[in-house]
Structures are given as C-alpha cells and as structure tokens.
Amino acid sequence: MESGDKPLTGAGLSLARGNEGSLVIHIAGNWERGQVLPNPEETLQAIESASPRALGFDASGLAGWDSNLLTFLIKIKEWCTTKNVECVDTDLPDGVRRLLALASAVPERKGARRESRRESFFVTVGGKAQQFVVSAGEVFDFLGEAFVSIIRFLGGRASFRRVDLLLFLQETGAQALPIVSLISMLVGLILAFVGAIQLKTFGAQIYVADLVGIAMVRVMGAIMTGIIVAGRTGAAYAAQLGTMQVNEEIDALKTLGVSPMEFLVLPRMVALALMMPLLCVYADVMGILGGLIVGVVMLDLNPVVYLNETKAALSLTNVWIGLFHSAVFGVIVALSGCLRGIQCGRSASAVGYATTSAVVTSIVSIIVATALITILCNVLGI
C-alpha cells in the first residue's frame, strides 16, 4: 500500500438525509495512508448539526481502505454511543465490519488506564525520604552479606569457581595495563610540568622529582587507577550482573541454592582487591617515569640524579599509604559495581542506569574516601 504507486485521488465523504430522520454517510474513493483524508472532527460537527436519529453508511464507492478508515469510523461510532444514536453498519464492507468488531471485542480493562496525578511537594519529599531509608537499608544488607562471604572465603568455605577468579584477575589486572600506563604517565608529566614552572623561578628544578614522586606514590597513582578501574571494571561488573538479572540467571542461581553473593560478587571483589594495589604500584612507576621525561627533556636534569632525588624523597610510609588507598578503592569499586548490578531492574534501560550509577557511586566514594584517609593521616601525623 505504497502511496507513490497511486495518484492522490483522495477520500470522498458526503452526508445525505435518509428516511425517518436518519443520516447516510457516503464513503467513497481511496481511504489509504498518504491520501487526503477528511477531518473526523469537522465531520462529527456536520453530523451533530443535522441531529440525526440514526446513522447509516453507504460504501458502494469505496475503492481502497486501510486502518485510516477504521480510526475514522471508530470516532463516529464512539460519538453515536455517547449521543445514544443508533448506528447501522451493515452496509460497510465485510472486512471493515469484522475488524471494527474485533477492535471492540476485548473491552477495555477496568482500571488499566492511568491518570497522571500531580503530587504535592511534601508527598514528594516524604516519598524520597522513605526511598532513601529503604535504599540505605539495601546497601547495608549488601555490605553485611559481602562481609560474611569474605569471612567464609578466608575460612576457605566459600563456593565459587576458581576459574572465574583467575579470569577476573586477568581482566582487571593484566588487561588494564595499557590504559593505566598511558594515564598515569600523562599525570606524571602534568604534575612535573606544573611544578617545573614554579620551581624553575627559584632554580630548584631538582625538587620536581620530589614533587612527582611523593604525589604519585602517596595518592595520585591510587586515585588515577581507582578512576580508571571504576570506569573500566566497575561498569563492566554492573552491566554483567544487571544483564544476568534481566536474563533471570541470578534467580536461577538462587533456586540452585548457590549464593549469588559468593558465586558472583566474591570473586569479583577479591580480584579487584588483589589487583588494585599491584596496578597502583605500576601506576606509581609510570608516573615517576613521566616526571623523569619532563625533568630530562625540559629541565636538563641527569636521569640518575633525578632518580636518586626521588629515592631520597620517598619513604616506605608513602608507599604503604598509597597501597592502602588503592586497596580501599578496589573494594569500593567492586562493591558499588556489584551492588548496582544486583539491584538492577529487569529491562534494557535498567541495565544502562545500573552501569551509570555504578560508575558515579564508585568515583564519588573514591574521592570521599581519599579525603577521609588524608585527614586521618594528618591527624595521626603520618
């Protein structure tokens, strides 16, 4: 029923008085998509002004029709029902009558139609507050379960597949190396650049090594790997678990008596907690390398002198603090990824929401955790 195939003849419609105050609607021509069709509202007004007692149809001139004729007729029939006017459709083509009957065969289910209601401000605020309490409860539930499963893991009683753990170790660790190299080296470069401009004015270029070394090792290496892993692995975890939720795989695990927490969340969490510190050490090295490049190329420092200066500036405490950061971040990313995945609804858009929410949750938590650890270190004087 392609509109280009036929000339636009248009649909014909005319009203004529029948006997005993009835009105006959003559339907003619082509009632198909792409044709010029009569406006149902105008037709209804014309019918209304004639105030008929009954309506009849004459479709002898009808050449072609599709759903457009049906929607038109349905409007007229609806009008007849509301105005209590008899509607005789016996003269309509067979197919039209059968489809009209089919469309009204299943009555509209009561209460199915929804009205949008505007809620008052207080209802909204109250609802949000209740939601917050519920979701906070869910988070603590999840954290508790995760803690229990870790205890079982440490006791060697957790049930999960060792192969899964190895696979996650590879995915989160080795396969993240290229991007971690790139980002942390660039961060090292940037730190060195920013420092170099200031320190050069005092003739203290050599302290670029201290600046880059301490900044990278103590906090920046951990933060950068944390953010990369949140975007790379945390999002993937949320999407994986979310899709499993959509496919009812998580339900299947539960009915098999396998705890999704141990089977799905635990290996991911362990993998990230183990791999994050290693990635962090690697990022530290790459960052120092980035600083070294700036030192050698831009500040004409001797590479050996630069490295010696870095070595002198760094204490083991710095390294431990950096590693502590990264271990915390690993757990944060794994937990928020898995939490959002498990909470995921059962539709495609829910998976998208879970993924976004996992990344946002991880990054916000990483920054907050960094602030807390930094303040703690300050108070403790380390």
Partner: protein, 262 residues
C-alpha cells in the same frame, strides 16, 4: 495487486555462517494473501531464513525477489523501500523497554507518515484494541505479561498496515487459548486486509489451523524436502521425515497419526 500472484520468490538460496552452510538450494514462492509456514526441527535454520527474508542477513548465494526486484542485488534505497512494506513480530516481542506501549506503536507512524498527533493517537488506540490491549497505552513493556508483550509487538508490527507480516515463533510462550486467539487474529487480518503472512513455527496446531502454504527444512539433508499446503502434506507426503514431523513422531512410535488436521 490481486490475490494469488507471487509476492516473494526465493531462488537457489544458500544460507549459512561463514564457511558453514546451514541450508542449500532453497526454492519456493509465497503468494499474495498466503499464510506461509516455515517449519522444521530445532536448529534447522528457520529463524535464519526469516532473517534473510526481512533483510537482516545476507544469504551466501541465491536471490530473494519481492515482485520483480531482487532484494539482495537492489540498491540500499530500493531495499529500504521494500523493507518499509514489512512488519516483523520478533520472538519475544522486542518492544523498546524505555517506551510505553503507545510510544512503541507510534514510533513507526511518527517516523514514516505525516500524520498529526491526534491521528497517531487514534491509530495507536485502534492497533492496541485490535490485539486486545485497549487501555494499556501508558504501560511499559516490563509491566505487562509475556503474552501481552507479544500482542503489543504485533500491534507495533501492524502499525503501518504492512503488505507482509513476518512472525518468528508467534505461539512460543503463550498458553493454548492465547495461541489460538493469535491464530484467529492472523486469519482475520488476512481475510479483511489481505495481508500476506510468513510464520516461523513448529507448533503443529497452529500450522494446521492457519497455514495454506509451507516449506519444510530438513536438518540432515540441509535443504527443503517438502513444500505446499501443510494439510495436503500430511495427507499425501511420502517423505517419512515430513510425516514424522507433522504427526509429532506419532506414526513411527505408535503406528498411526496422533494429531489430525483440524
């Protein structure tokens, strides 16, 4: 466009993935107004054949003619024009989960017609009413049952009054009564709108209730071994595999057919 003229002609079609050939040398014709059944055991390539017919997957060899046009040799504009005449109902409905039922059905109307908003609204209500979902306009797909999702998928497939409707396993996952209602709906649409149907199914009750033409794909010989009206095939075919399929394995197991054509 009279009833009975060839609408889809498949000539020498080979299909498969890479170097793996799933089915070879398929030849059949779907006539206008047919309810054409693609049948065969699991894994024989029924759904793949449908994907080729609706233009989602290129065949390894051979041609699919729509009218006089060979679909896979036509230019993209022509392909686009042909595809516009299809409606497809996917196995699980494939409704867009972020849109309400009304928005799902309205999407093709907004995309390809210049209807006004109120026209679209009444068209959407009509299509949903035809599949028995009147009043469910504002529901999201995740809020209704599987059978309802399938019917809503049908409403979306019918949105543009297509010439040809493709169904992938329409009765899978439906209870017998709903499956029967869907069959009735197919027959009704064919009778009143003259729509051609291509149905992929292995539901025997449906095959005999609605099909008037068919092709049987055989897994072992990797080609079609029978075609024609399934009721006639049941009565006349001498191919033991086709008979076995159409009788639910009844003849071999018990020496007589268990399922009789309705």
């Amino acid at each position: 466009m009279s009833e009975g003229e060839p609408q889809i002609v498949v000539k020498g079609l080979d299909m498969g993935y890479g170097s793996f050939i799933l089915m070879r040398d398929l030849n059949f014709t779907v006539n206008r107004g047919d309810i054409f059944i693609i049948m065969g055991g699991s894994g024989c390539g029924k759904s793949t054949l449908m994907k080729i017919l609706i233009g989602l997957k290129k065949p390894l060899r051979g041609q699919v003619f729509y009218g006089d046009v060979s679909f896979w040799e036509a230019d993209p504009d022509e392909q686009e024009r042909i595809m516009r005449r299809f409606g497809v109902l996917y196995q699980s409905g494939a409704l867009f989960s972020s849109l309400t039922l009304a928005e799902n059905v309205a999407l093709p109307l907004e995309q390809y017609t210049d209807m006004s908003k109120s026209q679209i609204r009444s068209m959407v209500s009509l299509k949903l009413a035809l599949v028995g979902l009147a009043g469910f306009e504002e529901f999201y797909p995740s809020e209704i049952s599987g059978g309802m999702q399938k019917r809503a998928g049908l409403a979306r497939a019918m949105a543009l009054d297509p010439d040809i409707l493709f169904f992938d396993e329409p009765s899978a996952g439906l209870d017998p009564v709903s499956a029967r209602l869907l069959d009735d709906l197919i027959l009704e649409l064919r009778a009143s709108l003259g729509t051609t149907f291509v149905v992929v199914t292995h539901e025997l009750a449906s095959i005999f209730a609605i099909g008037n033409n068919s092709v049987y794909l055989d897994v072992d010989s990797r080609t079609m071994t029978a075609s024609g009206d399934p009721k006639k095939l049941l009565a006349e075919s001498s191919d033991p595999k086709v008979r076995n399929f159409l009788t639910r394995g009844g003849e071999n197991a018990h020496g007589q057919a268990q399922v009789k054509p309705s």
